[in-house]
Symmetry: C2
Subunit: 396 residues, 2 copies
């Protein structure tokens, strides 16, 4: 029997918290956790070359099933050798199922539409979700649990996600339960539809209700009953926590995350979807999360927001017009080693592409370096101390 | 006495044509000619990092006095250590005088306004030119021959240009003569105003009139008469040909270029401003030009036009949707080594920054490689053969 395409082991546990480091093996190489995954929505981490991501220490990127299946189309990508080859990225790729974009674009307020080409019409059915998008001129599409897997397998994703329904933070318990039952049925159908050996993650839903989160985890992590799913390739390889960062207060997000990681299997990776700020990352690493993705560093980079060790800066502010200093004196990134705030500001004032590039390089470095420091401090048993110092310095 | 900051020598002459190779020394290092200078209008060659330009073999870039003096301001750049430090570029920089932008923005049709933030009001006076620009909200500015030099010296330019008036291709002989007399007086004032040892180039005007071009060259290259200009630092270090590529037919441009290089001193570099297509470069190298600048490779790159050895391609065309081939199979650039037409097209369809980057890398490589091949074929005595093969292949 061939070795499994995917494995995960916890390599170190923090003595004071639930923080942990781990090692994950995928069909495109190994990842150490906690890991931050830059988001490559359209088959590119915006403004960046793959080689630059490697230089920054990115180990895995995220691809968006919704966007890529509509444009250029997963069949096109498959024909061209898969997403890795298409986008010239040889390290692992995690793909979402497309559900979040469809629901968030159909429900203004849940997602950020700025980069997502407008509103689409969405019809939820037991079988899946029917939608139209302005990207391809409003052709009717249908995404089912089975087709979500088929698309992700066509892309050649190393870590696939089940299709789930996503709700607002304000959804009541009845709505959330109804939605959770549907997501559970869809998850089961994904498990059965899976054809390849690549990893498949379940997504824990249940909104802001702990009882529902608990029930969801119990039901989704129960040993499979039907024959096909008893095989190794028909079990979930990890667990994502979904339905957070959708408008709830930070403390609620931390609390639900903490609650979920208390219940999730200890030996499987936990992925908190769409989170978050630098502080969020440390808070949730402390609560036992292994994987993060967020558009924040690249998106805020493109608007001239720079994350630094002494707080966040708006580079366009007039105070930086003549500033010869780099964004962060303590930062070793390419941008900070070579450019002044005055120059980066000038690039933004002139709408030059280089502004977006320099800011994205800096911000991704900041996130990836934060994750590296978190890992090494977990390994050294000094995670809490590191977290306190990092947070205090940024709050000053 | 310190060695001169600038020198030029012809190293090889083509036996059949006026094509020649040369070596130019500047305060920021040596350049071999013929040379193509990527345009860095706002202190950045659009979409590119300086290191990427070095990788592509760029030896010198052009900076725009007009743009940089308005934003962020030459005083700001001087305070920050000069343009080289500001933009993180350690190789030579040539700056224009600002005249071309002011006149072209004030005379719709002469220049390309797309990237230049709109129309400005322009008033020509004996002393210089008064103008307003939307870049800084319409503040009144005055650019004189003296201030054009002062700005370029503040930027730390290695090769400065005199201030001149620029005309349309349609200007009649009376208008052209009047303008030429003014440009000659301004050139003389620039020569006297020069404070540093960095190179200063004259600009040959005279429009489409050979008699005026001849007179201009005779008068501008005549030995200086006034005392100050007898010193080494008060002579022109090279000659630009201005007032071409402003709407005249290609053949006229080639003919005037050829006429001018017959008359210009053999031992000084000749720079044809704002030219041109790949074919233009070879035609004008053949006619004795040493230096070129043009926004074409970077600008057309950003709109998805790719220059290749088998002609120019519009990457957005539907025919490339599934095309697994690189833009140019015979091209060794980063883009062609790593990406398909399908991927580059996808980047453009999604308005991704990476599209502009990949296309700019390819196009600049194409231009810089063309220049390298021209040089080596001049050195090998095979320039005409090379030119014929290159042109035929692109025409197919």
């Amino acid at each position: 029997m061939a070795p499994p395409m995917f494995s995960f082991e916890v390599t170190k546990k923090c003595p004071q918290t639930k923080a942990r480091t781990g090692r994950m093996k995928t069909s495109h190489g190994e990842i150490v956790t906690p890991v931050f995954m830059p988001v490559g929505t359209q088959g590119t981490v915006k403004a960046m070359l793959p080689e630059e991501l490697v230089d920054l220490g990115a180990e895995i990127v995220l691809g968006n099933t919704y966007h890529l299946s509509l444009r250029p189309g997963h069949e096109t990508i498959k024909k061209l050798g898969g997403l890795h080859k298409f986008m010239n990225w040889s390290r692992p790729i995690l793909t979402d199922s497309g559900g979040f974009q469809i629901f968030s674009l159909g429900k203004p307020g849940l997602g950020d539409k700025k980069e997502d080409a407008g509103i689409i019409s969405v019809k939820l059915k037991e079988d899946g979700v029917e939608f139209q998008s302005p990207i391809d001129g409003g052709i009717k599409h249908f995404l089912s649990p089975e087709s979500a897997l088929e698309i992700q397998e066509a892309l050649g994703s190393d870590i696939m996600m089940v299709l789930d329904e996503c709700l607002h933070a304000e959804a009541d318990e009845t709505t959330t339960r109804k939605s959770m039952e549907l997501s559970l049925r869809w998850a089961d159908r994904c498990l059965k539809a899976r054809k390849t050996d690549n990893a498949l993650f379940a997504i824990v839903q249940g909104g802001m209700f702990k009882n529902l989160r608990k029930e969801y985890i119990e039901r989704i992590s129960a040993p499979p009953t039907h024959e096909r799913t008893k095989a190794r390739t028909h079990q979930y390889n990890g667990y994502a926590i979904g339905g957070l960062s959708v408008g709830e207060p930070n403390e609620v997000m931390y609390d639900i995350t903490n609650y979920c990681t208390n219940l999730l299997p200890i030996d499987k990776p936990r992925y908190l979807m769409g989170v978050g700020t630098p502080e969020d990352l440390l808070e949730c690493i402390e609560r036992g999360i292994d994987m993060f993705d967020c558009v924040m560093p690249s998106r805020s980079g493109r608007t001239g927001q720079l994350h630094t060790s002494h707080g966040d800066l708006a580079v366009k502010n007039a105070q930086y017009k003549d500033d010869p200093n780099p964004p962060d004196r303590d930062c070793a990134c390419y941008t900070c080693r070579n450019y002044s705030m005055a120059y980066i500001r000038h690039m933004f004032m002139c709408n030059e592409i280089l502004g977006a590039r320099l800011a994205t390089i800096h911000n991704l470095h900041f996130y990836l370096n934060l994750i590296r420091m978190a890992r090494s401090n977990i390994n050294n048993g000094k995670f809490l101390e590191f977290k306190r110092e990092f947070t205090e310095r940024r709050e000053k």
